[in-house]
Every structure is written in C-alpha cells, then in structure tokens.
Amino acid sequence: MATESANGVSSPELNERDVVITTNDNRNFTVKIGVARVSKTINNMIQDLGESLDLSSGIPLPNVDGPIFEKVLEWCEEHKNAPEIKVEQDPHTRERKWFTMTEWEEEYFRKFLSHLWDLAMAANYLEIPSLYYYTCQKLAERIKGRTPEQIREMFGIEDDLTEEEKAEIRRTNVWCTY
C-alpha cells in the first residue's frame, strides 16, 4: 500500500513511481504515475483513493481495451508536461478553430488512422482533452469534402437508410449541397 497521504499525492517522487493499470481484456500496464495522470479520470482515482491506493494490484479501466490503451499511453508519455489545450470557436459562425499539430502528433495520427473512433472514445472516457479534441479534428479532416458514400466506405459503415429516408433528409436540409 502506498504510504503517501492525500496531500502528498501530487509530490514529484510519487509521479516517478509505477502503478499497474488493468484494461478490460485483463492486460496489465505498468505506468509511471506522472504519465498516467495526463488522464483526468485516472488522476481522480489516484486522488480519491489517497492512502488506500494499492499500486501493485492496479486500477481497472473497464471501458478501454489493451491495444487502444497502449496507443493512449504513447500520447500521454509525449504530453505529460504539456499545458492544457484551449478550445476556441468563431464567435459568429460557432465553427471550432482548428489546432495546429506538431510533426509528432501528425505522425501519431497517421500511424493510428484506422483507430480514430476508438481513440476518441477512449480519450473521452479517460478525460484527456488534448487527445480527444485532436482526434475529433482528425476525424473532421477525414470527413471534410467527402460524399456520404465515401464516408461510409472509409469507416466501414453499412448504408441502412432507405431512399425515402434519404429524400426526407435532403428535403429538411434546405441549404445543403450533397
């Protein structure tokens, strides 16, 4: 059992210690607490558990599977000391302003292009704003300029709308060009 008090949880020595995180496929990941804390969900767990935190038995993550968590950890390792991102939107059109990504981030998303939805959902559950909003932007980038057919093909979605339903959607969206 960890001996640090709840106040001592944020100490730099504790950040260097390892914690075991168990994903829903029962894979155990040994991670530095400082890296794991990029996730607000895990950080809250560590803070809530305080003195009763058992570093060896692990923190369970029932909503994330191993392969995705591995990719998330890669992001956390790179962003452990990064400042909080600021989400801005155009005050008149309400369209979100796009982030400028570093080369590492571009390469990261290029590597995991086929897992963007899973990454976004994991980042949402783990409360990692930088990964979540950057993944959302990457998904938007992939959708932009593509037809519904191309989007379906890209994400492997089946076309289950009837022609009547499609016609109704087209009718209700007066300004859209399809």
Partner: protein, 365 residues
C-alpha cells in the same frame, strides 16, 4: 457493503459526497438487457393498425455499425466542420442520422451571402453554393441557423416590415446579420427602431440616404435609438447642385449622443457642401469641448472646397497642440495629416489630400 450497491453509478456519487474511498476493483457497470416487444394482435389492448402497417411496409432496421458513436462525440467532430459538411453526414447511416438530429441546434451556422426581401414580399437567399427562393414555412424557419452576410431591403414598407416579423415568428430568434443595408426615404426610418428591437441582430448597420431632404433626417429623431450593432455607417449620396447645409446642423448631428451603437459610428458625405469656411476649425472645437468624445462619429469623410482646406491648413499650422504627422501609419500616401490631442489623451486626426484638396477626413483615435 452489499455487492448490488457497487453495480451502479450512485455508488461513486455517494462515496464522493461523503468522502468514502472508492473500491474500483469491484465496480462493474450495471448491465441492462434490451427487450424487443412482441407485436400485438388485433384483439389486444394498445393495438394500433397504423403502427402495424408502418412496421409492415417500412420496417426500421438497426444500423450494422459495431461501434456506437455517441451524440456528444459526433457533435465534437462535426463542430470542426461547416454546417453543410456536418449535415451531409446524416446521409451516412441511421446511426449517424439519429445521432446528428438532436445536436443540430449546436452545429456551426450556415453562411448566407445575401438575403434580399423584395418589395412584393418575396424572399431570396444566395448561399455560397446555391440560391434559393424561400417559399415554404420550413425553408424560412431554417434561417434560424444561418448567419447572413448582407441583408438588403429596398424600403421599410409595411409589407416588408410584416415579412420580417413573420420570419421572426417562424425562426423564434432574431436574424443574425453581418451587414444590414437600407436605402430609405425619411418618413419610414422610425420603423428601424422596432426592427432592431424585435427582428434583427446586426453587426454593421449601413444607411444610405440620397434623398434631397437629408436635413430632415439628421434633424429629426428618427435615428436616435440604440442598437447592438458594432458599427453604424451613414452614407449620403447627394447631388452637387443641392444647396449647402448649415455647419451647425451637421455638427449637432455628429455629436448626437442619442445615436448609440456598440462601438463605432462612421459617416461619409459625398456631394454635401457646408456653408462654413472654417468648418475644420469648428469640428476641432467640437472635439476639444465634447464631454465624452466616444459619442462623436469616429470617422467622418466630407466634401470640401479648396478655400476650406486652405483655411484649415492655416488654422492647424498655427494651433499649438496640433502635430504634423503625415508619415505615421494609417495615413494614405499623398495625404497631409495633423493630430490634435486633448488633455485626456483623446486624439483627433485631420487629413486632406495635398494636391486635390477636395475633402476632409476626420478620425478619432
């Protein structure tokens, strides 16, 4: 602690509230089994023939996409796109359609280049990719989620006024407009006040007057109201043969604090002659003695004679707190500029062309 109390989210809620440590190892989210209801027979209570027919002819099938995309996640993705791109995704699948439908009000606004309301009450909208004649109530209601770059109306006739009120009733919101242009004779300008209060939220309000009785507009109270507009541009396109206007009348109008906008007021008078040789001196005097210079028009462009410019030059050269500043940023090439600073650091810049000497440009910095 009973194991059943750990199977729902209230377990965390209660523990966080009373500061009891969590036991994450035993936490299992509650599983709910979805039951598909059995179709009812005709003789059973609750049977609906209409529903039965609908299910028979238009059976609703579930999407076969394995991953369930939540509305929140989809909204965060779609907020990075313009409205057209975002709504297009409704055609991808049933799952996308049902996830997008509830978040439509939160998507970005569609940008319309122009909305024109004709004298006969017909409404035409020009988008970036297509133009639409808005006839149905549904299409007019869709203006709720549009940002209109330019709203142009020919006049404030009763019919157009009623049409704008009808749009408001269908959209349940003020029209969001970047620039609102009105070309209007004097006697209907009082309707503008009502329009700004009820129907339109505008960023730049441009009023162009070419009526011979311009003096009636600037002396009447028709323009004395406040709007949430960031800018007010008044343009006068008069005929050179019009009789000159008295300087006092114009100066009173330019200093009128009852014409209120959120930030700046501009005025451009073309073809308007002033009957005062020392108009520049009078304007500088107005600025120096104004109680609150923020109520003045921040930029005024006005036609001038050669004699008026020469008189201004003599006056400004001899004025002790007027600084010759032609080479500072913001002064166009070929223009001569003087800056007059008040004790409270408000500054007025007076500019005129060194060769043409045909107009004054006053701007408050």
């Amino acid at each position: 602690m009973s194991s059943s109390s750990r199977t729902d989210k209230s377990y965390f809620k209660k523990r966080r509230k009373y500061g009891i440590p969590f036991d994450y190892i035993d936490y299992q989210p509650k599983r709910r089994r979805c039951q598909i209801p059995r179709p009812l027979n005709e003789d059973e209570p609750g049977y609906s023939r209409r529903k039965a027919l609908r299910e028979q002819y238009y059976p609703v099938k579930k999407s076969k996409l394995k991953t369930t995309v939540s509305s929140d996640l989809l909204l965060d993705v779609l907020q990075c796109l313009n409205r057209n791109e975002a709504l297009k995704c409704q055609l991808v699948s049933k799952q996308f359609h049902s996830a997008i439908a509830p978040v439509r009000p939160y998507l970005s606004l569609h940008i319309l280049d122009e909305l024109a309301i004709h004298y006969n009450g017909e409404i035409y909208a020009a988008g970036r990719e297509r133009s639409v004649h808005l006839k149905s109530k549904h299409s007019i209601a869709s203006l709720r989620y549009c940002l209109i770059n330019t709203l142009q109306i020919d006049s404030l006739s009763k019919r157009i006024f009623e049409k704008l009120k009808m749009i408001k009733n269908l959209t349940y919101a003020k029209l969001k407009v970047n620039e609102f242009r009105v070309y209007e004779p004097v006697y209907r300008l009082e309707r503008l006040r009502k329009l700004f209060e009820d129907c339109i939220h505008v960023r730049r309000f441009s009023l162009t007057l070419n009526d011979p009785d311009f003096v009636d507009v600037i002396t009447s109270e028709s323009l004395q109201f406040s709007t949430s507009a960031e800018e007010f541009n008044l343009t006068y396109l008069g005929h050179p043969n019009e009789p000159p206007i008295h300087a006092n009348v114009l100066l009173n109008f330019l200093a009128d604090s009852k014409i209120q906008v959120a930030s700046r007021k501009y005025a451009k008078f073309r073809g308007l002659m002033i009957d005062e040789l020392n108009f520049c001196e009078r304007f500088v005097g107005l600025f120096e003695n104004a109680e609150s210079p923020e109520n003045l028009f921040q930029a005024v462009e006005i036609k001038a004679t050669r004699d008026q410019v020469i008189a201004a030059e003599w006056y400004l050269e001899g004025k002790f707190n007027a600084l010759f500043s032609s080479s500072v940023p913001g002064v166009p090439s070929g223009y001569i500029a003087y800056q007059v600073m008040r004790n409270d650091f408000w500054t007025l810049r007076v500019m005129y062309h060194s060769k043409l000497m045909d107009k004054f440009i006053f701007s408050i910095l």
